[in-house]
């Protein structure tokens, strides 16, 4: 099976993630779309790992998951903090900082 299949699948998932970040207003959904982008990357890495027969990219995937977990902890904390203040997770209300 040519590697292109996986490249295209992964790019497709990645772009769906990007579309999601552009289309949604809910911060949590946006964050989820970003997780989707990361998963697209993971998938591609695993495919390359198979192609090169090299475990190092699987290790990389492992680290991406680790980092994502840490990021989720911080990110959800920030979102909850924001929610406690404005009782909404709508990013469109975040425009006090414009000038």
């Amino acid at each position: 099976m040519p590697i292109q299949y996986y490249i295209f699948l992964s790019i497709a998932l990645f772009c769906i993630g990007i579309m999601g970040t552009l289309m949604r207003r809910n911060a949590i959904i946006i964050f989820m779309c970003i997780e989707l982008m990361l998963n697209a990357v993971n998938l591609l890495l695993v495919a390359f790992s198979k192609m090169f027969n090299d475990p190092s990219s699987q290790i990389f995937v492992f680290f991406i998951m680790v980092v994502a977990a840490a990021e989720v902890a911080v990110g959800l904390a920030i979102i909850v903090m924001m929610y406690r203040k404005v009782h909404s997770v709508d990013i469109n209300i975040l425009n006090r900082l414009k000038h």
Binding site: I3, I34, M37, V41, V74, G75, M82, H99
Partner: protein, 461 residues
């Protein structure tokens, strides 16, 4: 390597310090002491590197990290800048919120990230380094919990930052797909005449991802909002030391790995540079708040630092060091003064020269440096990076454009000076300006001039 371990330990110690120590001032004293120790360790490492290895780089852990003399020297300078930062702004950091020990711990962890970024040899370390740099920044941005702007800045920074991390990762993956390695020296095997599209796409994604972190246009839009919303002491840190840390990572990757592919990415970075300079400078002219002006000007300054990335030669490395130090020191100085002021608008500075002539004088020197007036560090810094670009020789149009933009930059920096010296008014201060403040600002000022007069001192010859 010792410094990385030491910085981690400092972070851990600071984590516990807020439980152990009751008074904020003792936490401040502790971090200053520990940073001095860290500086000592850095100096030791640099000295060691001079003695033990003749020009060779020390590589660690299967070539994950290679601390050559450049990296060690850069780490030393950044530690020095952080120390200066803590000395100047320590009290203001303590005023942000109640988790003082934690803030300093995060700053120490960010230093670990910078150490990794200056010497990484593997894209995995680049990725982890950038994350170690970013996650504490999200937290610092949102650390002033009484202030909605701060939370807003944190959320924005977080969402956009993780988005750009995704892009960075995609770049790394595509490069891996083209070469089968994460080792940055392994990318040298890419051929310039028949470049694999996977590699080219990977490089593009990397440019975008790293460009976001250094706030290059069009990935810059988070910068003003985040820098404006974050608590000012942390804005000072994020816009200076952290940013130049990422620049070194940028430089390292593009020079060591993609140096011979420069005809593929040079134009792209040149376009980005031009856009960054244009947007940063033009928008900064318009701001009414000095803090926001500094946020925009940090975009403009990033445009100049991009010249170092553009020009693949030895001068660029010297340029980035000088730029990193000159820009960081002068900016931290301005922020230190800004933090003293009650009113962050230009009008808040009216008449400062009458009331606090020393303060005004120091501020003027810092601003001169940022605007690139000769005999200050900023001039030498700009000179070095532009020199590198001229030696490269392919982007003369951009150099001329950059000079034009440097002229524009004088507009907004000098507005502060005009307010301080030429306008009547009585500025109000947040806190009393003590002799200690003046002393520290004086030292900072001296450093700025020293960089401008004897830049060789700051280059590890």
């Amino acid at each position: 390597m010792k410094a990385i371990i030491a910085a981690t330990l400092i972070g851990v110690i600071m984590m516990f310090s807020s439980i152990m120590l009751q008074k904020k001032s003792s936490i401040h004293t502790l971090i200053v002491g520990l940073l001095f120790v860290l500086l000592g360790i850095n100096i030791w490492e640099v000295y060691d590197a001079h003695n033990v290895m003749a020009n060779g780089a020390q590589s660690f852990f299967n070539n994950m990290l290679s601390l050559d003399s450049f990296a060690l020297w850069f780490n030393l300078l950044m530690t020095g800048c952080t120390l200066l930062y803590v000395l100047l702004l320590g009290k203001d950091i303590a005023r942000v919120g109640s988790h003082v020990g934690e803030y300093f711990a995060l700053i120490a962890f960010i230093l670990v990230g910078i150490y990794l970024l200056s010497g990484y040899n593997n894209l995995l370390i680049l990725f982890i380094g950038i994350e170690i740099l970013s996650i504490p920044q999200y937290i610092l941005a949102g650390s002033d919990k009484r202030n909605l702007k701060s939370s807003e800045a944190a959320l924005k920074y977080f969402l956009m930052g993780s988005f750009s991390t995704g892009i960075l990762l995609m770049g790394i993956t595509l490069l891996y797909g083209a070469t089968g390695t994460f080792d940055i020296l392994g990318f040298r095997m890419l051929q310039t005449d028949a470049l694999n599209p996977l590699a080219l796409a990977g490089i593009m994604f990397l440019i975008i991802g790293l460009g976001f972190k250094v706030s290059a246009a069009p990935m810059h839009m988070w910068t003003p909002d985040v820098y404006d919303g974050s608590p000012t002491p942390f804005t000072a840190f994020m816009s200076t030391i952290v940013k130049v840390g990422v620049f070194v990572a940028f430089l390292r990757l593009f020079h060591a790995s993609f140096g011979n592919l420069s005809n593929h990415w040079m134009l792209i970075i040149a376009i980005i540079t031009a856009l960054t300079l244009l947007i940063g400078n033009l928008t900064a002219v318009f701001q009414q708040s000095v803090k926001r002006m500094l946020a925009y000007s940090s975009i403009a300054q990033a445009g100049f630092m991009l010249f170092a990335v553009l020009s693949v030669n030895a001068t660029a490395w010297q340029g980035i060091i000088i730029y990193a130090v000159a820009y960081s020191v002068a900016s931290i100085g301005v922020f230190a003064v800004l933090l003293k002021m009650k009113d962050y608008t230009y009008d808040g500075f009216n008449g400062l020269a009458r009331k606090e002539p020393m303060l005004a004088f120091f501020t003027a020197i810092f601003l001169f440096s940022l605007a690139g007036i000769p005999l200050t560090g900023g001039f030498m810094a700009k000179y070095f990076v532009l020199l590198a670009a001229v030696q490269q020789g392919q982007v003369m149009w951009l150099v001329i454009f950059a000079l034009l933009m440097a002229a524009v930059s004088a507009f907004y920096y000098f507005r502060v000076i005009i307010a301080m010296y030429f306008k009547p008014g009585t500025p109000e201060f947040n806190s009393e300006i003590t002799g200690y403040d003046k002393l520290m600002l004086g030292i900072t000022c001296l450093l700025v001039i020293l960089i401008g007069v004897v830049p060789q001192l700051f280059l590890n010859a």
